[in-house]
């Protein structure tokens, strides 16, 4: 046991920079997917609450399908499936698009719950003052709903950081992918446990600040209401 750790410390200067750069990739993919999810999720949410039944139905189908199938399957469809149709993605783009599309289903639900938590009298007051439904949404409902949405959005971001691990399966060079590459080098095979532990530390370094922010937002929200 001791000898493994000695070996680990010995190799650490080689391991650290690799995982450090891989963490940069994890952060990039997380942010990219977050932007896609936040934007696409708004479209999904607005469709869910639209007066048009067909739009509501499409959004519901989207949400159910994307939440009801593994993100890994969706990722493979986008990366391998679409390339068969001539739509080639590099692994990183595929990861951002795939996780973003998947996330839009969850984020859309967070938005919807936030919007529906705002009393309908708010929308009515805005309409009665001459705002169009879109203006009422933008200036009156959404600013209030955002306060309700922020804590669950923060929790979603934590899940997303961890979910980026699955993109190692399509060779996007993030933390898990690089860790496995290190381990596959024969001389590091015996310290795989230590390397994966180090991965966990890197993930924690990303998620702990986020969960701290989520907790503070939650407390702030209870003060407002």
């Amino acid at each position: 046991m001791i000898e493994f750790w000695t070996k680990f410390w010995q190799w650490l200067p080689e391991i650290l920079p690799v995982l450090w750069f891989a963490t940069g990739m994890t952060v990039r993919v997380t942010l990219g997917a977050l932007v896609v999810a936040l934007a696409l999720g708004l479209v999904v949410a607005l469709m869910r609450i639209s007066p048009l039944r067909s739009l509501r139905w499409i959004a519901l189908l989207y949400t159910d399908v994307l939440r009801g199938t593994p993100a890994l399957v969706q990722l493979f469809i986008i990366y391998f499936g679409l390339s068969d149709l001539g739509l080639e993605f590099d692994p990183v783009s595929a990861a951002i698009v795939g996780l973003g599309i998947n996330g839009a289903a969850y984020v859309g639900e967070i938005y919807r719950a936030g919007i529906e938590a705002i009393h309908k009298g708010q929308m009515e007051a805005a309409l009665s003052l001459g705002m169009t439904p879109l203006k009422a949404m933008r200036f009156i409902v959404l600013p209030q709903a955002v306060r309700i949405m922020l804590p669950p959005l923060c929790n979603y971001a934590i899940l997303l950081v961890k979910d980026t691990a699955i993109i190692s399966t399509i060779a996007a060079p993030e933390i898990m992918f690089e860790a496995r590459r290190l381990v596959q080098a024969t001389f590091m095979h015996s310290i795989s446990g230590q390397i994966y532990l180090l991965c966990a530390v890197f993930y924690l370094a990303l998620t702990l600040p986020l969960s701290h922010v989520a907790k503070r937002l939650e407390r702030a929200r209870q003060r407002w209401h």
Binding site: E124, L127, S128, L129, M131
Partner: protein, 255 residues
């Protein structure tokens, strides 16, 4: 001259429940019309149909000669787009029973948000005008407060200022004092009385018989989705013709 508000044969059903069963009302410019009646009589729904917060099942509403929520195309009635409807609503003020102030905005912003976002008034001008409106309802000193820091009566007065800032042709009051503690009702009625004295056109749904008697030019008693009786306040309140009106007034006054 045309009446300012013309409601013609308004029907409204929620599923199988018919809440309005053919109501027609005309309100002249500057006239104060109060609508009284038991809860469930359709008063609030009628008011909400006037600015299309509820879409009438049938019947039509004209404000200042403009058909509300619809347009006539080759003799058929077609619903307006969101944008066109919004433009019409901007000229009709609605005061809600539960105030519906925007909790994320200060009193000043509550009053200036619609002139800015709907009419495109620049911020300094909108705020100056909003200040004047708050002054009018006696709340200039609360301009920077958020609604949760205001009493119910103050909130309702801000809500009235918010409506005034849009300079509406017609003001609708939906039981504006029903959600207030008794000691706060007076301050809101005082503001409403001042508006009445300015010659504004007001359609007032209320349970405040005394107030209705004082300010109204005419009173309508509604029950079961229909107008039962209408006339000048002295007639309705002192010599009602219908038994239903008498029963209702007795119940109200015995409270």
């Amino acid at each position: 001259m045309d009446p300012l508000l013309r409601i013609v044969d308004l029907h409204k059903s929620f599923g199988a429940l018919e809440v309005l069963k053919g109501v027609s009302i005309e309100v002249e410019r500057g006239e104060k019309l109060s609508i009284i009646g038991p809860s469930g009589s359709g008063k609030t729904t009628l008011l909400r149909c006037v600015n299309y917060l509820e879409k009438p099942t049938s019947g039509h509403v004209w404000v200042d000669g403009t058909l509300i929520g619809e347009r006539q195309v080759n003799g058929r009635f077609v619903h307006l787009s969101d944008r066109e409807l919004a433009r019409e609503r901007a000229e009709i003020g609605f005061v809600f029973q539960r105030f519906n102030l925007f909790p994320h905005l200060t009193a000043l912003d509550n009053v200036s948000v619609a002139p800015r976002r709907v009419l495109g008034v620049p911020r300094p001008a909108a705020e100056e005008q909003a200040m004047a409106m708050l002054e009018k309802v006696g709340l200039a000193h609360k301009a920077g407060e958020y609604p949760e820091r205001l009493s119910g009566g103050q909130q309702q007065r801000v809500a009235i200022a918010r409506v005034l800032a849009m300079q509406p042709k017609l003001m609708l009051f939906d039981e504006a004092t029903s959600a207030l503690d008794p000691e706060l009702i007076g301050e809101v009625l005082k503001v409403m009385r001042e508006l009445a004295d300015e010659g504004r056109t007001m359609l007032i749904v209320t349970h405040e018989i005394q107030f209705a008697a004082e300010v109204s030019d005419r009173v309508i008693f509604m029950d079961g989705g229909q107008i039962v009786e209408e006339g000048p306040p002295e007639q309705i309140f002192t010599a009602p013709k219908h038994e239903r009106t008498r029963t209702f007034l007795r119940q109200i006054l015995e409270r």
